[in-house]
Subunit: 426 residues, 2 copies
């Protein structure tokens, strides 16, 4: 297909008429498709049906009755399982409830109210604190900062991770920068896996704040779409080797392995960090749901089985990702109006359109019954200054729904792009 | 048995020798009994075995797939069940994860960082905030205040609830008093149920702080020991009638109905409160474990079944409470050295000994292999100024263990009392 930038006004207007006809046809179909969130589809959830009746005992490996109180940091075998998943020692793991987002949020509230290991004062006692936010990124990370008035500084994402020249400069200069949000593997939404060099630079960089923390949301560590997945350098090892062992908080969960609502979540950090966090947490709760931890360990047993399980997920969602990519290529390829990545894993495809068009496109798609992630969501404060990023979540809709939704999207992208080009030419 | 206060020094010394022989006999038995926490025993947990295989569908009543993300405030039928338990409307309920303590803690952190409905500023922005702590009370409530530097003011417990003359006076005068901790039914540890008058005075009292909150931990609302249980006046209705509808946060859970680790917890409050809390919570989590909520609703169905279920709990633990009371009466009755209540429900018996003796008694019992709740635990900052309260948790040990443990305790009470009387007479 032709480069839109090389079409003349007449050609653009003719093409626009055709697109409007198609758009109105879709509108007439009263579609009702939701691709706004990274949710597993029912077929994926069915893969873990066995989780619900796999318990043959209430006892953890250390004899704990999982039905009763206690076990603040999780049962030993659940810590072992997450140690494998997150590539740390079981002593560096706390297994919590069903939500890793909740564990991240609670880490922030503890830091604000009580401080982290090495803090002179709780973060909340300081006049200003700031977080670096590689963007586009995960809206729920940014929302936590926004709720607490933590200033967010946008750092651009490059093809191998955040722009580390900027990160290094800022954290070295500004003591009020206390943290950075990272989704280092199959990043949300770009699907980028950080290079070894980026991981090393994170581990080694000098930070003005001595209680600076990397929030390493390793949400998609085993979530490959293809047999040969990306690999991510071990940040915990890198931090230890760099002499900054307490720098990183790592998070993970089975929310997109077993059940999104009823999985188990964990965090990992140095033993210094874990020791303080457990002390702080002991006031918040007596312990997590150990029965659900036991259920997960009985069902999955080890990382190797989880990897096999994830191949079944991939078999369900890979065709969806490929359908989206095929339609984007066939409808938008070569037109010079949109760019996207081809992730090897994770839950999203990140679509970039002409500057100033994303919000309009998302609105047009909504009018045709296709709900996309709201414009701006992938940036701090919901402000995509160039108004050009659209996060696509292909997993939840059926393949047929998905194809229709992406066709609608492609029509909207083209209509908005033509509108912009015509306006600029007039 | 004779009043110790009427025995002469010789009699006391003779009796002391006999007690020391018995104490040393127990010591030789190398007992290892733990009555420190209010934990259900395995037989109680067995009552809910059916909870683990009762699911026949993943769908909530509104069609929600409970395996997937969403449903911040719980599934409709779980809200309905807790509405029955807590005597409120389902619109006034948020059903959370497995821990009501966690929900209370999170309510406090939200209040500190963000404020409650009606707050001019987040509580944490104020120079000083204070909570009233009816005491003896629940150590984990007090620990939350202590962690956040919330000043605690002791209010005495009377036979029908907190000393309301003091409560009313303090809250009317001091704007920095933002809340009060209450376990209004079968209170921890006294087993007292607040009278209707007390509930009404709570609802009606004038508070200087316009965003004052009662933290109404209704942990034992269906936890009767006898067919005829205590009844507690509905605080939500009373607050509405008094024109203070937003005053109360109510908490409950199934931790001592189903499984302590894997139950479901809920909070209730006015719709104004719930609406703000849901908005605040939406940043913390996508939602609770809905599968476990569904499991509980399928298993228990309604309050009437829960009441039947609690009779089975009572049948297991009532003999334990009665054994404790019988031994206390036979060993300490009439001696004028110890006083205790006879609760109609809940998890504790509260023992008062001579001033200055509780810590010594608890230490002596520990040396004989009987672990009791640490001295001072039932008061703010762990400081029982009169050093006289001992919390007994009869549910977890077997009946035989319990009898031995209480015999040891009674020997320790007598030895410490004789020691005190002799010291005062010398």
């Amino acid at each position: 297909m032709k480069d839109f930038m090389k079409l003349d006004v007449k050609e653009l207007n003719e093409y626009k008429v055709q697109l409007e006809i198609k758009y109105n046809e879709f509108k007439g179909k009263k579609l009702n498709y939701d691709m706004s969130r990274g949710k597993p589809c029912p077929e994926q959830l069915d893969l873990s049906a066995g989780l619900l009746d796999c318990l043959d005992s209430y006892k953890a490996s250390d004899g704990t009755d999982c039905r009763n109180y206690g076990g603040l940091d999780g049962i030993p075998e659940a810590k072992q399982l997450f140690a494998e998943i997150l590539e740390v020692s079981p002593k560096e793991v706390i297994v919590g409830g069903s939500s890793s987002l909740n564990m991240m949020y609670d880490t922030i509230t503890r830091a604000l109210n009580l401080g982290v290991y090495g803090s002179d004062v709780p973060w909340g006692k300081l006049p200003v604190i700031k977080f670096l936010c590689p963007s586009p990124g995960y809206d729920r990370h940014f929302a936590i900062c926004q709720q607490f008035g933590i200033e967010m500084i946008v750092v651009d994402m490059k093809s191998d991770g955040p722009d580390m020249d900027v990160v290094e400069k800022l954290v070295a200069e500004d003591e009020s920068i206390k943290g950075i949000w990272c989704v280092p593997k199959y990043s949300n939404p770009d699907g980028i896996t950080y290079s070894d060099e980026i991981v090393d630079r994170f581990a080694r960089m000098n930070t003005k704040a001595k209680d600076f923390r990397i929030f390493w949301d390793n949400a998609y560590t085993v979530h490959h779409l293809y047999d040969k997945g990306d690999s991510l350098k071990n940040i915990m090892t890198a931090c230890k080797e760099a002499g900054n062992p307490d720098r990183v908080f790592i998070y993970g969960s089975t929310s997109k392995i077993s059940f999104s609502s009823a999985g188990i979540a964990a965090m990992a950090a140095s033993e210094n960090n874990i020791s303080l966090i457990k002390k702080q947490m002991s006031i918040q709760t007596i312990g997590p749901d150990k029965i659900n931890q036991l259920r997960h360990v009985k069902f999955f047993k080890n990382l190797s089985n989880i990897e096999e399980h994830m191949k079944k997920h991939a078999a369900i969602i890979r065709p969806k990702f490929e359908a989206v990519l095929d339609i984007l290529e066939s409808q938008l390829g070569g037109k010079n109006i949109a760019w996207w990545n081809k992730p090897n894993g994770g839950y999203f495809i990140s679509l970039f359109v002409l500057d100033g068009c994303a919000r309009e496109i998302i609105g047009m798609a909504a009018q045709a019954g296709v709900t996309l992630t709201p414009a701006g969501s992938t940036y701090p404060y919901g402000r995509d200054l160039r108004d050009r990023n659209i996060r696509l979540a292909p997993t939840y809709p059926s393949l047929e729904e998905l194809k229709s939704a992406i066709e609608v999207l492609c029509i909207c992208v083209q209509l908005a792009s033509i509108g912009k080009i015509l306006a600029e030419n007039s």
